[in-house]
Symmetry: C2
Subunit: 205 residues, 2 copies
């Protein structure tokens, strides 16, 4: 009953609403948010049905209440952290990105099997050895992981993560992971994405 696409958009709306809030407005209409999000106003209203919060036809939605509703729906009661495995080129970029100022969902720990990286702090995040990983995950109740190890290592790393209690994986390795029922995997396949863009760049002449 929970639509996958809806979850992604709610996360987007939250970010846009937070930006909007900084600009002043206390309320917003669906068509205004739609313009920023690049979706239709009907899509927005439909997505909001799941929240249990209603706007008014006259004032639209109160930004603060809307943000509360989305956060209540999306987030865990206690703040949630993620662990990143593979502190290479991409892993470091992600640590820089998700480290700075995001209270919501932080990368709380990193792991690598390269002795040169272990026990060092990279972009404010401690890098543990792989043997420490299960302990870190259990201690900090982490359920979400980011995989940025080379493709041939990804499945083994995923297995270890799941064994340690991880239930959601954001996978950047260009491999389709085999995971048991109940584990959610989102693939960020950049090579596929770029080829798709190149294809459609050619279609509409």
């Amino acid at each position: 009953m929970v639509r996958e696409k809806t979850i992604g958009r709610l996360s987007l709306y939250r970010r846009l609403l937070t930006e909007l809030q900084g600009e002043g407005p206390k309320s917003v209409y669906s068509h205004q948010l739609a313009a920023r999000a690049g979706v239709s106003a009907a899509q927005i209203r439909r997505d909001f049905m799941i929240l249990g919060y209603s706007g008014s036809p006259a004032q639209g939605y109160e930004v603060a209440k809307l943000l509360d509703s989305i956060t209540h729906f999306l987030d865990a009661p206690e703040s949630q952290g993620a662990i990143l495995v593979g502190v290479g080129n991409l892993g470091r970029a992600l640590l820089a990105y998700f480290g700075t100022g995001r209270a919501r969902l932080r990368i709380e720990a990193a792991c690598d099997n390269d002795p040169k990286k272990i026990q060092r702090v990279i972009h404010g995040c401690h890098c543990y050895a792989m043997v420490e990983m299960p302990e870190v995950i259990r201690r900090q109740s982490i359920r979400t992981a980011i995989i940025t190890v080379p493709a041939p290592e990804a499945q083994a790393v995923a297995n270890d993560l799941i064994e340690a209690g991880i239930r959601g994986i954001l996978n950047f390795a260009p491999v389709r992971l085999h995971v048991p029922e109940g584990v959610f995997v989102e693939n960020m396949d950049m090579a596929v994405a770029l080829e798709k863009v190149a294809f459609f760049a050619r279609q509409h002449v």
Copy 2:
């Protein structure tokens, strides 16, 4: 008539088939490829309908012919290049990734507005000044761009790229770009992706 999801999967199949080819087999059944791709066998056969190449019920698909068919369908007759704008943390990681050994779709040029980066070669890719960008795009007939500049800069950069002839954008900035009809945009929104994973990590207990 061309399904967006199908294009993405064809790109994935091509990569998997190339790997498979290296392992020896000259032919493959839909269910074998399906296992690697993490999709159903029926999905694969349906996707292949668009190619105009048929396998045989007895031997399955000839890997070499299948690869030819996919490449003929996906790729431009002449090889296509991409330009990357914003040589920061993420941009450099992407240059490293798309530079090494990918004949198919290379990042042929990079741009930045930071004087410290301009006219330098980063991971084998020349970094041009922004004023040179339109000239580079026209000279090398580039139609695909990757945006890795800070969010507030992304729309302006997109406008300039489109003005210069770009028709497809892979956008990493957490902003929804407004583009004219006929320009294809694929958003790689990692913050949204991570929140989605965190959400579903919590669903299946």
